[in-house]
């Protein structure tokens, strides 16, 4: 059952990305191009998502469990530390460079047009590199 819910959530997420325009790198970079011909559409994506997610997270946190009574798995980190900021700067730079963040890049793999195979391969390599760094530091 949880896997079926996850599949459905992924499908909804993907449809939302396509409908919102996030699978078009030109639209994403037009949102980030505040000094040029600015396309504010993606602010509406964030707004729409929060409109639904805010009450859902409020209910989930109030209950402390899922609707099926299982524990929530929420991040526990609280500190605004260097990795958070350095990682976010790196991510933002890559996002601005190619117009892809992880969700839209993956959802675009099954589009015939503009499939970002090279980007996704490099993204997975970047993630593996991070895991290798963690392993190296934890030895």
């Amino acid at each position: 059952m949880p896997n079926l819910f996850a599949l459905l959530a992924g499908l909804l997420f993907g449809l939302g990305l396509i409908l919102s325009g996030m699978t078009d790198p030109a639209k994403v970079t037009a949102f980030l191009d505040v000094a040029g011909a600015w396309d504010p559409s993606l602010a509406f994506v964030m707004g729409g998502a929060l409109l639904v997610a805010l009450p859902a997270f409020y209910v989930a946190r109030r209950r402390g469990t899922t609707l099926r009574g299982e524990p929530l798995q929420l991040p526990t980190a609280r500190r605004l530390d260097r990795p958070l900021i350095v990682g976010s700067v790196m991510f933002g730079a890559g996002w601005g460079l190619a117009g892809y963040c992880p969700g839209p890049a993956l959802a675009s793999l099954s589009m015939t047009d503009g499939a970002p195979w090279l980007f996704v391969a490099a993204m997975l390599a970047g993630m593996a590199l991070y895991e290798a760094r963690q392993w190296w530091r934890g030895r």
Binding site: L7, A9, P25, A35, L50
Partner: protein, 144 residues
């Protein structure tokens, strides 16, 4: 600042956002999980076997969206803005950066803000600024 009215799509973007929010709501309310794409993918590289299935199921859903859409209507056009080396560099930065920073547009930007996390707010402001600065440099300093 000039608004690009020609390509501005407030309503479809809002509707798409509602769907993304619904996906995040479904995952937290039914599975107790955060719909952060970089976390879901990154977890595959380290998570115990029992934890892998829902991650793969979510990603399968994500990949099914485009074929399902195409079965009903033409997909919206996608216009690449980078090729070759730039795409590889961007992918490496996004992959490593989202793991180091513990999230991306979905994990921090949607789920983190929805649970009012100060860490996620800091991350979201930071990656938006970094993205805007990168585009500014590329388009108006280097490319201009």
């Amino acid at each position: 600042m000039t608004i690009d009215w020609l390509y501005f799509t407030p309503w479809t973007s809002l509707a798409g956002g509602l769907l993304i929010g619904a996906a995040a709501a479904l995952l937290i309310l039914l599975n107790g999980r955060i719909a952060g794409i970089s976390g879901i993918v990154g977890g595959l590289l380290r998570a115990p076997r029992a934890d892998r299935r829902w991650r793969l199921a979510f990603l399968a859903g994500l990949l099914l969206a485009a074929p399902l859409w195409r079965g009903m209507a033409p997909l919206p056009a996608a216009h690449p803005v980078a090729g070759g080396a730039a795409l590889v560099l961007a992918g490496l930065l996004v992959g490593f950066g989202t793991r180091l920073g513990a999230g991306c547009t979905s994990g921090h930007g949607v789920c983190g803000l929805a649970r009012l996390s100060p860490r996620s707010l800091a991350a979201a402001v930071t990656f938006m600024l970094a993205g805007a600065v990168t585009v500014f440099v590329l388009r108006h300093l280097v490319g201009g």
